[in-house]
């Protein structure tokens, strides 16, 4: 049952309130002809008609490039200053259920054993307002990985669009409750009798059984079947686009920018699809062909994440399918692996 009601026009007030301090309001916005999650400072910039934005909002938790330190080398020593991550209050409006679900996965990586505080400090201050999906496209397969257009996991507030253009707001977490209470005038009480838009129907892909995939992958003898993997993924050109748009891909590189005397150390997104990702200085490469790198990504999603971190590696957002320049569809590989 809905606990609150949010009028669409009141988002203007919410944006103003959040942005008036140091807060960042993130939402769906046009970038060229595509919708992306981007910082929003004016109500008019919000796009309401979209399915899944081109990017995930992981870049606001784990930036594509981030300065972690500045260094200066003098005659008598090194001056090395760690740069504390900026962690303003962030409100993500218009998250999709798949993206909200991915946050727990990122957290599982960034907090096992060592805690990467530049990640956790940002995530701890993020309020995720998810809107249930009322439409889908060919790429969507959330139900196949046991999510749904109205799953609430990972959201702080869960919104359903009403026919008149407002939102019924379910409070999911304490952080969400605190947020709503702070903006009492914007999130009004009631609205339970309003009609909501029909939730999208994302049918499960026939022939894909994620449970079976997870169980089968535990037996890694499929690694010995090079023909299987080479055959399935031969067309991959190793561009890494899938990893950049994927909400759970978390690999990064550490690199210096500057001279030997002065500069900054950065953490940059990296991709297991690149040939130099595992290349040793000696020339040896443990994953020396593209299908092995593609296989690694598939294993990461359906074996490493679930087994090592007990979290989901794939949320079914379908971005990797939409972005792939050669049309390599992960669900086709999932289907093949389910039928073995």
């Amino acid at each position: 049952m809905a606990e609150r009601y949010l009028k669409r026009e009141d988002l203007a007030k919410l944006i103003d309130s959040v942005c008036s301090g140091e807060g960042l309001f993130v939402g769906p916005k046009m970038d060229g002809r595509q919708v992306v999650y981007a910082p929003i400072s004016a109500y008019k910039d919000i796009v309401f008609d979209y399915i899944v934005p081109r990017n995930s909002f992981k870049e606001f938790l784990f930036p594509q490039t981030e300065v972690i330190a500045r260094y200066a080398v003098h005659k008598d020593g090194i001056d090395l200053q760690g740069v504390k991550a900026e962690s303003p209050e962030m409100v993500v409006f218009g998250s999709r259920p798949c993206d909200a679900a991915s946050v727990a996965s990122l957290r599982s990586v960034f907090t096992w054993d060592f805690v990467d505080t530049s990640y956790t400090e940002r995530e701890d201050r993020m309020v995720i307002m998810t809107i249930a999906c009322t439409d889908r496209d060919e790429g969507c397969f959330c139900s196949t990985v046991n999510l749904a257009p109205d799953s609430v996991g990972g959201s702080d507030l869960f919104l359903k669009e009403t026919l008149e253009g407002g939102y019924l707001v379910d409070i999911v977490t304490d952080r969400g409750r605190t947020f709503v209470e702070r903006f009492e005038g914007i999130f009004s009480a009631g609205g339970a009798d309003v009609d909501i838009k029909r939730i999208a129907d994302v049918p499960r892909l026939k022939g894909v059984d994620v449970k079976k995939i997870k169980e089968d992958l535990r037996d890694t003898s499929h690694y010995d079947n090079d023909d299987l993997w080479a055959g399935l993924t031969r067309k991959c050109i190793g561009c890494g686009a899938c990893t950049f748009v994927c909400p759970t891909c978390h690999c990064f590189d550490i690199a210096d920018e500057g001279s030997a005397l002065e500069g900054e150390r950065r953490k940059n997104w990296d991709a297991c699809q690149f040939d130099h990702f595992t290349l040793h200085a000696s020339g040896h490469n443990p994953r020396d062909t593209q299908y092995k790198r593609w296989r690694n990504r598939f294993m990461c999603k359906f074996n490493f994440y679930p087994n090592k971190f007990s979290s989901r590696g794939c949320v079914g957002c379908g971005r990797c399918i939409r972005v792939c320049p050669v049309g390599l569809d992960i669900t086709e590989v999932m289907e093949e692996m389910s039928g073995r």
């Binding site: 972690i68 330190a69 260094y71 080398v73 020593g77 090194i78 090395l80 760690g82 990586v109 960034f110 096992w112 054993d113 060592f114 990467d116 505080t117 530049s118 890694t220 690694y223 010995d224 978390h250 690999c251 990064f252 590189d253 550490i254 690199a255 210096d256 500057g258 001279s259 030997a260 005397l261 500069g263 150390r265 953490k267 990296d270 297991c272 990702f277 595992t278 290349l279 040793h280 200085a281 000696s282 040896h284 443990p286 994953r287 092995k292 690694n296 294993m299 990461c300 074996n303 490493f304 087994n307 090592k308």
Partner: protein, 280 residues
């Protein structure tokens, strides 16, 4: 394995350190003695590694070649010129500053080696991390059974740590066997691949452990020799190499199946490693 006491780099930030000595071993390998600034002490285990920073160039994981029981004031890194960073390291001089973080990784499980015969097999640069173990074992020699060290190199002039090897050869409490792939006069020791040296290995196989580090191609052949000697798979330790970046199990570079080698390794028993596809 958590960052051990005395570890640096919780947030991927190195601490400053100074090069206090450089010892040239071969035309492409040098040993750098490193001292942490402000009296910092690096506490580590044999076969742990540090991440070395050269500001403006970046970072690379380097295994520690000195023993934890050597001087507390400094530690040694044996570095071969292979890439951008290592080339730049070789241009440094005594007194130059670098960044260090770590130690990272699990290191050899000394407590499981105690009381047993130890076979140490070093191929090429594999002697860099194993020298740490050998020196550790010699430091507390009476805690171990027979100690047999097999060392292989391409040519006589490529052999690392020749001064150490002379001392080990003169030490009656350990056995050292050397081989080179290609002999150059006045070489008078073995010629051929390292597996040929196993005929000299005579250990209490049920109560022996092996430590193996070398180029990727070596493991399969050496492990098969060790298994032929009757050692258990779980008592054969390998220290593997990966292109590591963060050292704390986040960046994904050293992922082998479900493990992050920087955290769960770099030392794996053969029992673990053989189950990990792409590991060997």
């Amino acid at each position: 394995m958590s960052l051990s006491a005395g570890g640096y780099g919780q947030n991927m930030l190195p601490v400053a350190a100074t090069i206090t000595g450089i010892d040239r071993l071969t035309d492409k390998d040098c040993v750098f003695s490193i001292r942490l600034s402000k009296g910092g002490i690096l506490r580590f285990r044999a076969s742990q590694f540090v991440i070395l920073s050269l500001f403006g160039i970046g970072e690379a994981p380097i295994s520690i070649s000195s023993s934890p029981l050597d001087s507390e004031k400094s530690f040694e890194l044996c570095i071969r010129v292979v890439g951008n960073l290592t080339r730049a390291v070789h241009r440094l001089s005594v007194g130059d500053k670098v960044g260090i973080r770590g130690p990272y990784g699990n290191g050899f499980p000394m407590e499981r080696i105690e009381g047993r015969d130890v076979v140490i097999v070093a191929g090429g640069l594999g002697l860099a991390p194993l020298r740490s173990l050998i020196r550790h074992v010699i430091h507390e020699r009476d805690r171990y059974g027979r100690v047999i060290v097999l060392i292989g190199a391409k040519r006589p002039q490529d052999i690392l740590f020749k001064e150490d090897i002379l001392l080990w050869e003169a030490n009656p409490s350990i056995e050292v066997h050397l081989t080179v792939d290609v002999a150059v006069p006045p070489w008078d020791k073995h010629v051929g691949v390292i597996t040929k040296l196993f005929r000299y290995v005579d250990v209490d196989s049920l109560n022996a452990v092996a430590a193996v580090v070398g180029p990727p191609i070596m493991y399969r052949f050496v492990v098969s020799e060790i298994l032929n000697k009757g050692l258990f798979e779980g008592n054969i330790y390998l220290s593997l190499e990966r292109r590591m970046r963060c050292g704390i199990g986040k960046c994904g570079h050293c992922q082998i199946n479900g493990i992050y080698l920087c955290q769960d390794g770099p030392v794996l028993s053969y029992m673990e490693a053989r189950k990990l596809k792409e590991a060997l």
